[in-house]
Point group: C2
């Protein structure tokens, strides 16, 4: 068996059943091997950033890694931004990067570049396969490393792929995550029962329903304020789940949420820091005199720790669960409020929401808090272009669940070709593009960082760099060009009708919602 | 003056007059500074790969660097593939990468990543500005470094940008490139006049008309075979210029071109190596027993060296110049031959051709060799997604020249949002998309690397990864959605009419040419 065959069979034997692929010449034997192993689902994307974002979305929902297939250093570069987001989400991903044959490297051919340096910036584990006999073991080691919530990158030289003598190897079963120590549980319990103002900040696996139920019991019993990290990888929400407010993105709002707190107990979340620095505003969001207690680290068994803690401080207490409470269906022209109300009124049971709505999603948390139970995936690393690819992967992972991809116009354009993969794979993804013809977030940030004072006159030249009009993007045309049925809506009634039609028909759809920007 | 203001003014004082920008929060002061300095043209792109590819195309035509404005590590990642191409082209580029404020770095906020490691993979020079007082000097040093044909990367922390105390600094005038040594010229002359079979391989600045004229004189006088490197950054061609065949991309064809050669004289080109390794085929293309003589290195003053050499070995000899000789206008359904003939028949005087046509451009060299004089830019680093961005930059550099962007369908989708920038800036770019519904090059490579033997039955699963149908891409719809007027053509007559209409009207156009793939 050649190296490529051993690699594909090793991935499969280790529980990796999907490969999001952008192959090139150096990956042709891998492609041929995929052909011979039909149990491995190969999904073609038209850009590596779609492949890596899809692997992120897949693993967030499947709780196990997918593979990517990337073409040398430039292919990795194209996929880097969404690998950055995956790294911040602690998502398991296995990258297979085809490279020149070992004997070819010294010639510095045009596609040669320093793959290891670039991969190192996002990978928790990386290795270059140096022999066909070892490639099976290398693949198994990559899967084992990824399962710890890391990006694992395996560089596969073309000759290692095409030479004979490979053997499939399966990764050992995953180990359980380390439990919280009794000391950490005791320390958190002491803080929460001290009578001083406390925040219980949840992230990681504590934003699933089980962890939230335990956190909710603790909050009810101790009076602690329950908050989730600003950008959770995956949070369960809606009717029957404990509702939790997220720590705000804007520094001023986050400072307000945490004001007066004496103890912050971290369960799967990091100690809170500002997303960006702003002149005269804090980077460290822990209030002065506040103490931070780590019950479980970001990649720890946070839900389990919360359950132990709840049994200690909240015995017999039941959590408050969110009731089913949809907003009334609005009418008339769409705006940032009504566009969210339509979504809250119609979000289907069991939906997976991929949220890259940026400023246009301002009203979404409140509008959807009482929708039927659903999962919500967020932009963990701030690198835009995440939504459409992640929706791809989520839909591959959960073919029986509707995926709603909520996309800002500017962000959508980064990885727009994901729509083609939605069409090719027949994925049940409904994309809602919030078209406000602006990078509205940057209009806000121009003010926030104090840069607005430096523009001249009306600042027309600066504003033009934050503006997406001239020409307006027509997402209906763009989606149609990639095989996704699409419709433009300007009123709540039209949007509701479009979403109902999309829900009635399996497969991808796009709804372009024209709305005014949050920041004019 | 704040740091951003000093930086923009330093770039301008150093001859950098265009900035291709994808700003984010950390770049807001830079955006405000651009507003106050109208002499600096800021061009918004919707994806960093468009910005970096545009900077490459700009500098290839303007012979001086443009700046890019990128947002932290993920923005650099998105721009990496086209920086890789620029590095291989020895294009001068100045990257400005906004980063978190210095005081914010230690908090490892979500957008934090190892910018230096990633930038190092493409940059010949890089620096992080550490003080506002020095940022002007840093910018001048970056421009000076870039002028040597390198990627220069300057990381700009937000506080260095917003603090006061900056001073503009101008880079010193560029130094002349090192001349060839008398020994190198003598050695080349000896080889060329030895009577043994010689190849004169030109690249770098020797593929402009002046260098080619000197090379043509040498070839005429000595009988040496004149070849250009496989993927020149910029080559002048057409009527009145010395015609030169390029070294082939496919190893077998290149081996054939070089067979029997005893001496290869390099003028601005590298010693020839195969693009990829293939089982049983050579990586080093120098024939056995062949000698390589370096007249001028890739980034050297190769044209000047050729002129000196020509005066030595070809005094009084005039070069053979290509006559004006367009192909006859074909008729009927388009195929890989006729699509090129239409282009050869209509290519306007002074055109800039950006060529990312891959297999569909197979017949272009012959069909355009006798067109009116034009420049031809190629994919130097093999990282697809180059064409539409490079055309953007070339059109900004040369607003009075028509730009024809020849794009393969698969490659076009990598950086398709460049079309929006064509529309916003009103660039005179005519994009011809060769839509053959396939990654046809990979069908060829699947055979070349010997992987085809590993597929099962008809190889349908492998073929589906090399196939762009199901659904077919509709480039007319996609272009229309980004504000570029577009038309689909299936016959030579329709294509000619569409190109004539595009030529009659300034501004961007797209012509989608439906053709059968070179490799079925």
């Amino acid at each position: 068996m050649n190296g490529a065959g051993a690699l594909v069979r090793s991935l499969l034997a280790s529980g990796v059943e999907v490969c999001f692929a952008n192959p090139g010449t150096s990956e042709m034997h891998f492609v041929a091997a995929l052909d011979a192993v039909p149990e491995m689902r190969a999904v073609l994307t038209l850009f590596e950033g779609v492949a890596t974002g899809a692997a992120d979305g897949y693993a967030r929902m499947a709780d196990r890694p997918a593979a990517t297939l990337l073409h040398l250093g430039p292919g990795l570069g194209n996929g880097l931004a969404n690998l950055h987001n995956a790294r911040r989400a602690h998502t398991p991903v296995v990258n297979v990067i085809g490279d020149h044959a070992t004997s070819h490297t010294k010639y510095d051919a045009p596609l040669e570049s320093d793959i290891a340096a670039v991969a190192g910036s996002v990978s928790g584990w990386q290795r270059r396969s140096t022999s066909t006999a070892e490639v099976g073991a290398d693949a198994a080691a990559a899967v084992a490393a990824a399962r710890d919530g890391r990006i694992a990158t395996l560089v596969l030289p073309a000759d290692v792929s095409w030479d004979d003598g490979g053997e499939p190897v399966a990764a050992p079963p995953p180990a359980a995550r380390a439990s919280a120590t009794p000391e950490a549980i005791r320390d958190a319990a002491d803080a929460l029962t001290s009578g001083e103002p406390c925040v219980l900040l949840v992230g990681g696996d504590a934003t699933r329903a089980g962890g939230l139920a335990a956190a909710g019991r603790i909050a009810s019993a101790t009076g602690a304020k329950l908050l989730a990290e600003t950008f959770p990888a995956r949070i369960e929400r809606g009717a029957g789940v404990v509702a939790v407010e997220r720590l705000a993105y804007l520094t001023d709002m986050a400072v307000h949420q945490l004001a007066g707190t004496r103890h912050i107990v971290l369960a799967g979340a990091r100690s809170p820091v500002a997303f960006f620095a702003y002149p005269g505003k804090p980077s460290d969001l822990v209030p002065e005199g506040g103490h931070v207690h780590t019950l479980a680290p970001q990649d720890g068994a946070a839900a389990e720790a919360l359950e132990e803690l709840a049994d200690l401080v909240a015995p017999g207490i039941a959590p408050d669960l969110a009731p089913l409470a949809r907003p009334a269906m609005p009418t008339g022209p769409l705006d940032v409020q009504s566009v969210s109300a339509v979504i809250g009124a119609l979000l289907p049971e069991g939906a997976i929401v991929v949220d890259e709505s940026v400023t246009s999603g301002f009203a979404l948390p409140a509008a959807t808090a009482g929708a039927p139970r659903h999962d919500w995936l967020t932009l963990t690393g701030g690198a835009i272009g995440f939504g459409l690819p992640a929706a791809t992967g989520a839909a591959v992972a959960c073919p029986d669940r509707p995926v709603w991809c909520l996309e800002a116009d500017g962000s959508a354009m980064y990885t727009i070709s994901a729509l083609w993969t939605h069409a090719r794979e027949g994925l049940d993804v409904t994309t809602i593009v919030f078209n406000n013809s602006a990078y509205a977030i940057l209009r806000l940030e121009l003010q926030q960082v104090g840069a607005a004072g430096f523009v001249v006159g009306d600042g027309a030249r600066a504003r033009s760099l934050l503006d997406l009009s001239r020409p307006d993007l027509d997402f209906v045309a763009i989606a149609t060009g990639m095989g996704v049925p699409a419709v433009r809506v300007t009123t709540a009634e039209e949007m509701a009708a479009a979403l109902r039609r999309a829900a009635a028909e399996n497969g991808p759809h796009l709804v372009e919602a024209i709305i005014p920007p949050l920041v004019p």
